[in-house]
Amino acid sequence: MAHMTYIEAIRSAMLDAMTEDESVIVLGEDVALKGGVFLATEGLLERFGERRVIDTPIAEISVVGLAIGASLHGLKPVAEIQFADYILPAIDQILNEAALFRYRSNGDWHCPIVVRAPFGAGIHGGLYHSQSSEALFTSTPGLKVVIPSTPHDAKGLLIAAIRDPDPVIFFEHKQLYRTVRGEVPDGTYTVPIGKAAIARSGTDLSLFTYGLMTHYSLSAAEQIAQEGINVEVIDLRTLYPLDKAAILESVRRTGKALIVHEDNLTGGIGGEIGALIAEHAFEYLDGPVRRLASPDVPPVAFNDDLEMGYMLNPAKIMAAIRDLAAY
């Protein structure tokens, strides 16, 4: 057990996975000599050498495409996209190639790659260092999408993703990198992909969220508890495939559902979750399914006021909880 930050947990996952399994390699822009722009891969080059820790040119199609090719010969590549905002050039390789290799070859080939990318706003990143890109990856069968919110889950889920026989898109909220610390086991362990976690159990209302918003939601839930509102916070952790059982079980208990995400309201994963609940937990609902998310404008203006105007925060979440609880 060690007490570490989120990014240290990410680094430790790669370090331990690479130590344990020679077939794990890391590639991406600035990941070797510099150790990544957020230093997630710092120290890996010195430890494993340039055959396994590879600086790639600024060419995202190839960052993912090379990982795919290498995986076909038995490697387990972990590709880093420097910012989620720049995953778009690689999306043909992810959705049309990696996700479909197994299905299109009737199981003859498969593609065990991990694509890591820092996402999310709040660090004055402007329109192109702030995006939440997860919604682009939650409609493609063959893919898995993971977004951990704690150091413990970050390490366990990243190791699970590396061992997974299929492509996993792994988003890390860049605001969590250095602001969140927690206990993390030594050595390799896994947290199962596809399972949500009850981050806080409650009885009055189910709040479904992930990433940075898990922390904002927990703090909102703690504060609002003093008003006698007892909120259950579900950290989804995996967005594709969603843990339907956990989602429905919780809302059937509490009768109310609030979905919170940093991604834009329209087209975010909240729609899928809301529709699941409206279809499969309809009889249990004591109120409308509410969504609280960023407004439908590009994420996110550089100017401080505009950034604050865009971003959610615990106060906004508390207001939404109050409102739904009072329904």
Partner: protein, 342 residues
């Protein structure tokens, strides 16, 4: 063989012998190319009959594909082909029945179990890598494979990938060959230049007369060969594969050729080229050309070739019947092979 070993005499060695190819290899290639052409003809017939929904043709490309196949160690080197490469897949060991099942979307289709349109050749056993239909998206997988050889410290192995000249306009193609050049990886890039991308003439797709010219900007040699001359193709492909396997780096090989049929059964090529142009290129048919060579060199006889043609026809007939008789898979296989066991 003569006692005298002056270059003059050596020059008179038959080309295939000078290249170290046995008579059996040459005759096998001739028969293989004839067989591939016969299967292609059959597929177009089946398409007209509505028995194959989609056909895409290698006709005209056979020498480029068989010439390269000679330089590939099937099941050892990785091959990352494109939809034009049926003759290549057959040269590497796939059968007419494989192709017919693939074209009819039948179970037993080794490429995809009836999931992909015809032209998506794949076999893990033969190290023929599954591809999408997305033009230019696959060469980067060959480069990734080569990166894996290096990461694992494997030598004496290469990856070879095939594409049309039109594909060289794709960003994905650029990123693939650019990376191979930076790291001098063991990859061979084969451009089957048939001068058209569906309706678009090379003038609209490539800014220079020869695709091989691009090699210089990627830090690798660019070779141009007559794609209808199987020996010229083999000589260049063999050199490139040996260069790659011995760690000396990648090569871009351009085979100049022509597509005899429309792009696919959905295309009408008379909208963008003339019957005269097609006829003129059919004059340079790579199969006829190898046939003439074999006769000139007395490696076989016209009688033997006639016999082969008959044998090939019945081989294709039998394969067709076998493919047609294969029952369709039940739609409950719809969810198979979506994910593996975590």
């Amino acid at each position: 063989m003569t006692e005298n070993n002056s270059p003059v005499i050596l020059d008179t060695l038959p080309r295939h012998e000078a290249l170290g190819l046995s008579t059996d290899q040459v005759l096998a290639a001739l028969r293989g190319m004839m067989l591939a052409r016969a299967v292609d003809d059959r597929l177009w017939l089946l398409a007209r009959q509505g028995k194959a929904h989609f056909v895409i043709t290698p006709a005209g490309h056979e020498a480029a594909q068989f010439g390269c196949a000679w330089a590939i160690r099937a099941g050892h080197d990785y091959v990352v082909p494109y939809y034009r490469d049926m003759a290549l897949a057959m040269a590497l060991g796939q059968t007419p029945l494989d192709m017919l099942r693939h074209a009819m979307g039948k179970p037993g289709d080794p490429a995809s179990g009836g999931r992909q349109m015809f032209g998506h050749f794949s076999s893990r056993a033969l190290r023929i890598v599954s591809g999408s239909s997305s033009v230019g998206s696959h060469p980067v997988h060959a480069v990734g494979l080569a990166l894996a050889f290096r990461a694992k410290g494997e030598t004496d192995i290469a990856a070879i990938t095939f594409f049309g000249e039109g594909a060289t306009a794709e960003g994905a193609w650029h990123e693939a060959i650019n990376f191979a050049g930076i790291h001098q990886l063991p990859v061979v890039f084969v451009c089957e230049n048939n001068q058209y991308a569906i309706s678009m003439h090379q003038r609209k797709e490539v800014p220079v007369p020869d695709v091989a010219t691009k090699a210089a900007g990627y830090g690798m040699p660019g070779l141009i060969v007559d794609g209808n001359d199987i020996f010229a193709v083999y000589e260049a492909a063999q050199a490139a594969m040996i260069r790659a396997r011995s760690g000396d780096g990648p090569t871009l090989l351009e085979c100049k050729t022509y597509r005899y049929r429309p792009h696919s059964n959905a295309d009408n090529d008379m909208k963008y080229r003339t019957a005269e142009e097609v006829a003129e290129w059919r004059e340079r048919d790579p199969i006829k050309r190898l046939e003439r060579y074999c006769l000139d060199q007395q490696l076989t006889t016209s009688e033997q070739i006639a016999l082969d043609e008959t044998a090939i026809r019945s081989e294709v007939d039998q394969a067709t019947v076998a493919a047609e008789q294969t029952p369709n898979p039940l739609s409950d296989s719809l969810f198979d092979h979506l994910y593996g066991e975590a």
